[in-house]
């Protein structure tokens, strides 16, 4: 688990897939922690990387940028990156930035893992 104040990111293995579960607001002060966790997870070359945002109540453009960067890196490695568990407020931010069409988004972590 990576920690930054109250910002924790749990990492779980599900077979060959990795699930990251950040917990707390993702803003400019925390996006670097998320970026490190995503890079580390991709470095392990999982068959699938799932980012479960169910416990993220707030995300700003620095969080979006971090996920876009990770998605690009994942595509280069041919690793599917799937988001899930978006809260209403976080989904609204994705929609404002029109990124809900860029990412693969599942409703639940289990659906995201199964693909």
């Amino acid at each position: 688990m990576t920690g930054d104040g109250k910002f924790n990111i749990a990492s779980e293995k599900h077979g060959e897939s990795t699930v990251l579960r950040p917990e707390g607001d993702v803003d400019m002060s925390r996006s670097s922690t998320l970026r490190s966790a995503l890079r580390e997870a991709l470095g392990d070359k999982p068959s699938r990387l799932v980012v479960d945002l169910a416990k993220v109540e707030y995300m700003d453009s620095s969080g979006l940028a971090t996920l876009v960067e990770a998605a690009r890196n994942a595509r280069t490695q041919k690793v599917p990156l799937v988001l899930c568990g978006l809260t209403t407020k976080v989904r609204a931010v994705f929609e404002i930035a029109r990124l809900h069409q860029f990412f693969e988004i599942a409703d639940t972590a289990s659906a995201a893992i199964e693909g």
């Binding site: 400019m28 707030y58 700003d60 979006l64 690009r72 209403t88 609204a92 929609e95």
Partner: protein, 171 residues
């Protein structure tokens, strides 16, 4: 002007660690002014993005520079219920006409802050401030219940600025 003094005034350092506190303050004030939960979140998001841009681009991530945040419950002349937020800094001045959001079709990290601010607020104005720095004025209109039907019928996006704050019963 009937009421030019801000009702809420906050000076904070340009340290990202204080973004959360600023967001909570703005969202809390917006709620008490009658905005619904989504509108409160959007106003706080716009202020957060503005503060991030000042810290990142204006102050080159220096964490010890001042930022001033002022809030009025509507326009300064007392007209039009809503929330007026003015954010000022001492960062380097830039031509306000070149401040614009990037094309969203070009998906890449960064550059979304200005787009988000303009999307969620009804009025956004950048200007140079005397004697130094920039001033950003943000205004979000509070839609009364009688107006809300019109907004709905206009085909409001769930995330966009057309999704105005509504007067709520628990505000």
């Amino acid at each position: 002007m009937a009421d030019t003094k801000p009702h809420v005034y906050l000076e904070l350092r340009s340290d990202p660690v204080y973004l959360s506190g600023a967001r909570q303050l703005i969202a809390s004030v917006a709620q008490r002014l009658g905005f619904d939960e989504m509108a409160c979140s959007q106003i706080a998001l716009a202020v957060d993005e503005a503060l991030c841009n000042i810290i990142r681009h204006g102050y080159d991530r220096a964490t010890d520079r001042p930022i001033w945040l002022s809030v009025w419950p509507g326009r300064k002349d007392g007209q039009d219920p809503g929330m007026l937020v003015v954010i000022e800094d001492e960062a380097r001045q830039i031509d306000p006409t070149i401040i614009r959001g990037r094309e969203l079709d070009d998906v890449r990290p960064g550059g979304l802050g200005v787009h988000i601010i303009k999307e969620v607020m009804d009025e956004v104005e950048y200007e140079a401030r005397e004697p130094a720095g920039m001033r950003l004025t943000l205004y979000k209109r509070l839609v009364q219940k009688d107006d809300s039907q019109d907004a709905d019928q206009a085909g409001a996006s769930p995330a966009g600025s057309a999704d105005q704050g509504r007067v709520s019963n628990d505000g």
